[in-house]
């Protein structure tokens, strides 16, 4: 694997290999001494041009637990704030002998563009409203464990509802692409104003009515209402949004028994998800966080663990 830019780049065999390896990483995470020598001497630079706590930290831990030298660069402290272009910054760091860049950027497509400039491997840690492939992988990892493990057959015919602010979400696109490879049935649920343009061509079911799918879904994935990306009125009031599209205690009671609840975080409790749902026994939200490190260790291993072709 050269880069991980889009969930669509991954074949079923690659996804399965990443998830299987993540299973092993997960057991190592339970050890007292969380250290593998695997990536000794490799350098991973996390370049985050947007705020992030969990993604940046989990990539950093993933690199460190595998003995890679991990460096964080945020836009604020870097030369980009002195006016250096992204390209020059990347070329400079690439020339220092970096083996892998993990990049989050506010512009859709910026990470793929950056990958074309450098010799190092590149991981997309979120680009604008476009993609966030490692999030989709960790969601799949947490779901697969919940659905009973095994290979891709865990997903065959399973119904996954992705609910909420799909317009501003990079998580939804990566999940739709990855779940297509895994063979589950995805339904997108959102108010008309929060559906991405061109969603009809994604090849998945779309509805404006959450209650249509609430009792049949095997997994409900609630997405955060991204207030910071909203400059207009996408819905009348937050109360109305919570009423129509939130995972309220009433909807929680109507879920299919054993259905899993996912949320990529950070959560707006009381808006897209109620505290009852977030803290429910079948909520995978904390498992998703743990999975984040395992899956990112696995991704770094797949990119950096062998000879560079």
């Amino acid at each position: 694997m050269r880069h991980l830019l889009s969930a669509a780049d991954l074949s079923l065999a690659e996804v399965t290999s990443i998830l299987d390896t993540a299973d092993e990483m997960h057991t190592i995470q339970q050890r007292q001494i969380k250290k593998l020598p695997t990536l000794r001497g490799r350098t991973v630079i996390n370049m985050f041009f947007e705020d992030s706590t969990r993604t940046r930290t989990s990539f950093e831990l993933a690199g460190k637990w595998m003995s890679a030298d991990t460096i964080n660069i945020s836009a604020k402290g870097s030369s980009t704030s002195k006016g250096e272009s992204l390209r020059d910054t990347m070329l400079t760091l690439d020339a220092m002998g970096t083996d892998c860049f993990v990049i989050r950027h506010g512009s859709s497509g910026a990470v793929a563009q950056a990958a074309g400039w450098v010799r190092a491997h590149v991981v997309n840690a979120g680009d604008g409203t476009h993609e966030h492939p490692t999030q989709a992988l960790l969601d799949a990892f947490a779901m697969r464990r919940h659905l009973g493990g095994g290979g891709a057959e865990a997903f065959a015919g399973k119904k996954i509802a992705i609910v909420g602010d799909l317009l501003h979400s990079r998580v939804v696109r990566s999940n739709v692409l990855l779940q297509r490879t895994l063979g589950s049935e995805v339904t997108l649920v959102a108010p008309p104003t929060l559906l991405p343009t061109g969603v009809d061509e994604w090849g998945v079911a779309v509805t404006n009515d959450f209650d249509e799918v609430i009792h049949t879904a095997d997994v409900v994935m609630m997405l955060r209402v991204q207030r910071e990306r909203m400059y207009g009125g996408f819905f009348p009031t937050e109360r109305e949004y919570a009423e129509l599209y939130g995972l309220t205690p009433e909807r929680l009671a109507r879920l299919k028994p054993g259905a899993a609840i996912c949320h990529p975080g950070p959560m707006n409790r009381g808006l897209e998800i109620s505290s009852e749902a977030a803290d429910a026994a079948n909520s995978l939200i904390l498992e998703q966080v743990t999975a984040g490190v395992s899956v990112r260790m696995s991704v770094l291993y797949h990119l950096l663990g062998g000879s560079s072709e």
């Binding site: 299987d20 390896t21 092993e24 001494i33 593998l36 020598p37 695997t38 663990g305 062998g306 000879s307």
Partner: protein, 181 residues
Amino acid sequence: MTNSTARIVWDGHQIARAIARMAHQIVEVNAGSADLVLLGIPTRGVLLARRLADAIRSIENTEVAIGELDVTMYRDDLRRQPTRAVGRTAIPRPLDDQTVVLVDDVLFTGRTIAAALDALKEVGRPRSVQLAVLIDRGHRELPIQADHVGRQLQAPAEARVNVKLTEIDDHDAVTISVPEG
């Protein structure tokens, strides 16, 4: 890759006898099986560990603990080839003060076992560690030797020695193939 023909040097009966002998030897050297943990190195080492455990059970009438120890992420030659698939690690019980017998199919350069010792260090501190291999084919690159050996085999360094086991290969055999040309 050059074409080569595989020559069978050991059949299923011979493998079975060797495993029975190794099982006797393991319990004899360790005066029983109480503190024994057999750790197979994936893939075929795990199958051999199970067979050794079966053999020890029939000798001693006791269960012997078996597990799996994957060494991929501890190898020193990872960068010399494309990314290797990571195998499973499953440790049946705490290894502190136990006698661990590492089990593998073929002992060659010794690098796999060196990686196994590193991996083992992360999961516990056994009282002693022994090595059981079905085939020792020589050409060591590190100072490592086996305690329990099915058979010593003289094979040129460039030859491929393969152990086939019914569980995954349909039949039991040890084969040698030498690249032609």
